[in-house]
């Protein structure tokens, strides 16, 4: 058990965005998290990365409660994340975007070491040619990749990817999916959020479906997609 | 003692209504453009002088001069918005929050010093709205205060009706709630930004013209009321015109009582202003996204 959310609840005003939800992610797992808009997926990601504090329940990493910990503690405990709309350090270079988390993670890292590692990540993401550009100069798809790279620089054990395919040029879609698959093969645990079923179903071995702040199905993709509840949640019947 | 108390409360109510007018303008600008206008106090001051010169040079009757002041500050607001704030809506400038703070603060510098140059550093006093005054028992309230309060109340009611009943007001509201959605239903956001800034400036200018006969005009007259307006907008907490009215009157009354009852009269005046600023600090600490209770969204 790498990360677990234990009956977490998050309210915004009167709405329970996440409602008494329990979810466990094991080491090396690739989990797809889907659900209609407003079902609480992003809120759950924010809870699992410390960006939001749950109103009830606990988030644990390696069994240790993370209650009241700031997001940077989650990051140091091995949780890397991306945002639905890329949130880069827009007026810093691509290379600086990458070395920043590495230098924040380890005081012993020198800038040279961090840059060396950043170049490996850039090569992995096929972004070497834009290393010197400012992050805001990148295309939407490149920004998504850079954000993934920034999370990778944390040497995370778990990646929380919020809609990695949204806003990506169709030509780049395969490249993003390919990179995620590759990462999963090398042992990263990944939670992949998307509302687009087709993008996710081929990629993952476990599919979690959320609706109205709860999980309504959890299991192998084909099984889950046959479930009546899921069809209802998506068609609204 | 009780009549003194009542007088202080009534005086506070009058200044409170003027504060509310300034704050309502600030509220509209913030909720539609998502910027804090640090030049608001200067627009209020310009409104005061515009009214003064309308009376003295154009021979406009004092009450009508308030409308002239509003028109003048409206035009000034629109020009500033078109020239300096319009680049915010495109990607012509970086660091949008900082940009907005700097250029509105520069507007304050420019107007206040321009006022010293053109109007002189010394206080001016426009003629009264009326020589009459109201006597209730032992109390005397000057007619000017009553007229100013009445006009401020009328303007606030008018603003409320405008926001609720007219399509332009509703369009402003729509943009303030959700720009993208407003764009989808065909509202020209750019026009709304210009309208909002002009309207906000006009409300500040109107307040300046109303207060001028009661206090006096000076180039720095806007410094403190603008801080008061920030307090009210933060206190008001909902971005609604009623919110700023209640907040404004509360602050006005509390201040008037503070000055009236502070044990050491030497310090009373100084600390009554500090009290307002302290209120602002505490409110921000309790409600960090204070203004209107909505989370502030960075513009970029």
């Amino acid at each position: 058990m790498l990360l677990s959310a234990e009956s977490v609840t998050k309210r915004f005003g009167g709405i329970r965005a996440v409602d008494d939800l329990t979810l466990t992610v094991e080491k090396g797992e690739l989990v797809g998290l889907i659900g209609p808009n407003g079902s609480g997926k992003t809120t759950l990601i924010n809870l699992m990365s410390g960006a939001l504090v749950p109103d009830g329940g606990h988030v644990r990493i390696d069994g240790i409660s993370m209650s009241g910990k700031a997001p940077h503690v989650f990051a140091r405990s091995g949780v890397g994340r991306t945002f639905q709309i890329p949130r880069l350090f827009r007026r810093m270079s691509v290379l600086e975007n990458l070395i920043t988390p590495a230098l924040a993670l380890k005081r012993t890292y020198s800038r040279v070491e961090a840059e060396h590692k950043a170049h490996q990540v850039l090569a992995f993401l096929r972004l070497t040619h834009v290393a010197a550009l400012e992050a805001r100069a990148l295309s939407g798809g490149q920004q998504k990749l850079l954000e993934l790279g920034r999370a990778l620089m944390l040497e995370p054990r778990l990646l929380l990817l919020d809609e990695p395919f949204a806003g990506v040029h169709p030509k780049l879609l395969d490249q993003v999916a390919e990179r995620i698959e590759e990462l999963s093969r090398t042992g990263y645990a990944i939670v992949l959020v998307d509302h687009n079923l087709d993008a996710v179903r081929g990629l993952v071995r476990r599919l979690v479906v959320m609706a109205r702040g709860r999980t309504i199905a959890d299991g192998a993709p084909d099984e889950v997609l046959r479930s009546v509840d899921v069809i209802e949640a998506y068609t609204g019947r | 003692m009780t009549s003194y108390f009542v007088l202080q409360v009534l005086n506070g109510l009058v200044t409170g209504l003027i504060y509310a007018l300034i704050a309502a303008g600030l509220t509209i600008i913030f909720s539609v453009l998502k910027i804090v206008n640090f030049g608001h106090g200067a627009l209020y001051m310009i409104g005061g002088y515009a009214g003064y010169y309308a009376i003295h040079l154009l021979g406009v009757p004092p009450l009508f001069a308030v409308l002239v002041a509003m028109a003048a500050t409206f035009v000034l607001g629109v020009i500033f918005e078109r020239l300096m704030l319009a680049p915010l809506y495109t990607n012509k400038v970086d660091r949008k929050d900082e940009y907005a703070t700097i250029v509105t603060f520069a507007l304050f510098m420019l107007l206040e010093n321009a006022a010293i140059v053109s109007f002189g550093p010394f206080n001016k006093r426009p003629p009264s709205f009326t020589d009459a005054s109201l006597h209730v028992g032992m109390l005397t309230i000057t007619g000017d205060r009553l007229v100013a309060a009445g006009m401020a109340a009328l303007l606030l009611i008018g603003l409320s009706l405008f926001m609720q009943r007219t399509s332009l007001g509703q369009a402003l509201d729509a943009v303030s709630q959700n720009r993208d959605a407003a764009a989808i239903i065909g509202i020209d956001a750019k026009r709304m930004f210009t309208t909002a800034f002009g309207l906000g400036a006009a409300l500040a200018g109107g307040a300046g013209a109303l207060i001028a006969p009661i206090f006096t005009l000076s180039p720095s007259m806007g410094d403190l009321p603008s801080v008061q307006a920030y307090i009210i907008v933060v206190l008001g907490g909902m971005g609604s015109v009623p919110g700023s009215i209640i907040g404004g009157m509360l602050l006005g009354i509390v201040e008037a009582l503070g000055v009236g009852y502070y044990p050491d009269p030497n310090r009373a005046l100084a600390y009554s202003n500090a009290f307002g600023a302290l209120l602002l600090i505490i409110t921000l600490l309790v409600r960090p996204t204070g203004l209107f209770g909505r989370a502030h969204v960075r513009m970029e």
Binding site: G50, H72, M92, A104 | R95, R298
Partner: protein, 319 residues
């Protein structure tokens, strides 16, 4: 090699020129430049706080006042040696800066500006109201840092302080802390997600820049010999904002040059009265609108391009 040596050479030339300058200056302009060091330290530290770390504070002059008054009062009331007093001033400014930074942790963007504006206003009113300690608006007479009537020692002392401020804050920016501060400015949530303890760095940058503001205040007080609540006024803060904006809000030497330039220009145009500040307001707007990185930075870039065109340097020079 050649390009890398260039900044060092231009620094040395600039320092040599400034060090030799008093030979050609009359007492008045010596005084103006010695005063401009005060603004230079303020503009540089404010540029670090607002330009690099994105904390748009209006309280910077308040920290200068805390530094100045602490040092001044210690010298007047307890007869503490002036240099020791200035150190105490720096420490107390840093301490209050840390506290303000801590209080402001949850405030972003314009809310922080409002908060710091209110803080500065309160401090100004306290200095005015508590006149039995501070002499209020009359001003507090404080002893000089050096004996004698000459401004020359102040000129050099202040100049060294400006250089030291630039060196220390510049080194901070070139270290990893500089990266973290810029990341903080760009996106606080993303910085947290990147393992940066944003609360720590926000308090840190407030502490450091307030310490330098306190240093500036101490230098200024013991140079001109009188402290008044006017230090904390909004127009003074506006002047420092203008200096940093004109020089380059994201360029520390630019901010220093901007401060010296704006102050010297405003003294040279003294006959213009308040009109100078009307012009300054206009200059700020135009700089923001058309040269957001600052006029000094723009001029430097133009100059560099012009010299490169005149003497095209070989490509290898960059390596």
């Amino acid at each position: 090699m050649a390009l890398r040596a260039k900044p060092a050479i231009s620094w040395l030339v600039a320092i040599a020129v400034m060090a030799a300058l008093p030979h050609w200056l009359n007492a008045y302009w010596l005084h103006i430049l010695a005063t401009s060091w005060y603004y230079a330290i303020l503009a540089v530290s404010w540029a670090l706080l607002a330009g690099f770390a994105g904390q748009f504070s209006f309280a910077h002059m308040a920290f200068a006042a805390i530094g100045g008054y602490t040092s001044g009062l210690l010298a007047v009331d307890l007869h503490l040696p002036v240099p020791l007093g200035i150190l105490c001033g720096v420490a107390s400014a840093a301490l209050v800066g840390a506290a303000i930074g801590w209080l402001c942790l949850r405030l972003r963007g314009p809310y922080l500006s409002l908060f710091t504006l209110a803080f500065a206003l309160i401090l100004q009113l306290i200095i005015i109201a508590e006149y039995q300690f501070t002499r209020g608006s009359l001003g507090l007479s404080v002893p000089g840092l050096f004996g004698g009537n000459s401004d020359l020692p102040y000129y050099y002392a202040g100049f060294v302080l400006v250089l030291a401020s630039l060196a220390i804050m510049g080194a901070l920016l070139r270290s990893r802390v500089g990266l973290f501060l810029r990341a903080l400015r760009e996106d606080e949530d993303a910085a947290e997600a990147s393992a940066i303890d944003t609360s720590y760095y926000r308090i840190l940058v407030f502490t450091i820049t307030s310490a330098f503001a306190g240093l500036a205040g101490g230098y200024y007080g013991h140079y001109v010999g009188i402290l008044s609540p006017n230090i904390v006024t909004i127009p003074e803060m506006g002047l420092v904002v203008a200096m940093a904006v004109v020089g380059g809000i994201e360029n520390l030497p630019g901010a220093a040059i901007g401060a010296i330039f704006v102050f010297v220009a405003s003294e040279a145009l003294r006959s213009g009265g308040q009109l100078r500040f009307v012009a300054l307001g206009l200059v700020i707007m135009l700089t923001q609108r058309f040269a957001q990185n600052g006029l000094v930075v723009l001029a430097a870039a133009r100059l560099a391009r012009a010299t490169r065109r005149r003497a095209p340097s070989p490509k290898t020079a960059t390596g």
